[in-house]
Amino acid sequence: MKRIKALRLGIIGFEVLTIALCVLSVYTLFNALSTAISGGTLNLNLDVDESTGEWRFVLNGNPRNGGFLGITLFFEVAVLDLSGQDIARNSTSVYIPAGGANQFSLSLTIPPELVPGGSLEEAEGYFELRFAVRTLGDLVGFTNILKIRGQAP
């Protein structure tokens, strides 16, 4: 009798804990999406080094976490050729505690020989931006992969 009651109480406790964790992590994820990547927290620059002809893509950010749990933000940028092979790829991740903020910087250099005519608009291939937010010890997460195809005019 006592064993069954204890099991019942244990199940109820487990259910409450699971629901609470689910609500907290989903809230943290959506909060991160609405605050961390908006409101001018991210700064994107694309420059060409005139001396070497290299293209340099720089992503700077100071995202804030307004959620109840700590989050790990992951950013990855890549340039791929038309067959899907990597030309250049770089990534970074940053941990932001609950209610805190943290800085990060990500750069990607594209060699001049891979940009025909020196213009990225004329380059054929793909630009890929991957953004991920994970919380609850990286067990729950959201990932967004944006892929833009560049075509020669």
């Binding site: 009798m1 064993r3 069954i4 099991l7 019942r8 244990g10 199940i11 487990f14 259910e15 699971t18 964790l21 689910c22 992590s25 989903v26 609850l136 067990l139 729950v140 997460g141 959201f142 990932t143 967004n144 992969i145 944006l146 892929k147 833009i148 195809r149 560049g150 075509q151």
Partner: protein, 176 residues
């Protein structure tokens, strides 16, 4: 066979909330919204039909449970089936309408030269829900066993009626 009024009430409520209301509400959604959802890969009509089906099955299970005593094996079987069915509902909710996703949802859309893929990974809660359902099944079995033991203990032992033969062999008390 008894009919539990509470089961009928909960069964009807489940049917109304999960089946009747979603099917009715579906007709009230403007067509342009449905088209917008559809372009994002979300089939609202299919989703509503699935919810309505879930509601129908749940209400049938609740009604059926009301027909059986808690000590019957049928009640235990229905309890286990409805617990497993709840797990499927959790998978349905976590997988955004797709049970087979088990909490890992991938939504892709493409417009011209731009493709966008969104991945929601909430598999952790699918695993936790599976553990909870396992524990609930163990609890149902233990409760069933306890109820059976109680019934056996409460039932008075039937005295064995003497047969004619037994009566014949019964030693006769000496008469004076």
């Amino acid at each position: 066979m008894r009919i539990n009024k509470r089961s009928i009430l909960f069964g009807v409520l489940t049917l109304v909330i999960f089946t009747v209301l979603p099917l009715y509400a579906q007709n009230m959604i403007p067509q342009e919204y449905l088209r917008a959802f559809s372009s994002q890969g979300l089939n609202v009509a299919d989703l509503v039909n699935k919810v309505a089906f879930i509601g129908l099955v749940m209400s049938i299970l609740i009604l059926l449970k009301g027909f059986f005593e808690k000590t019957s094996a049928a009640f235990l079987a229905l309890s286990i089936v409805s617990t497993v069915f709840w797990l499927l509902i959790v998978f349905f909710a976590l997988g955004m309408g797709k049970i087979e996703n088990l909490g890992l949802t991938v939504i892709s859309s493409e417009a011209g030269d731009v493709s966008n893929t969104v991945i929601f990974d909430i598999r952790l809660f699918a695993y936790l829900a599976t553990i909870i359902v396992g524990l609930k099944i163990v609890h149902s079995i233990l409760k069933f066993r306890e109820a059976r033991l109680k019934t056996v203990a409460v039932q008075p032992t039937q005295p064995s009626l003497p047969t004619d033969k037994a009566q014949d062999h019964k030693p006769q008390t000496p008469t004076e």
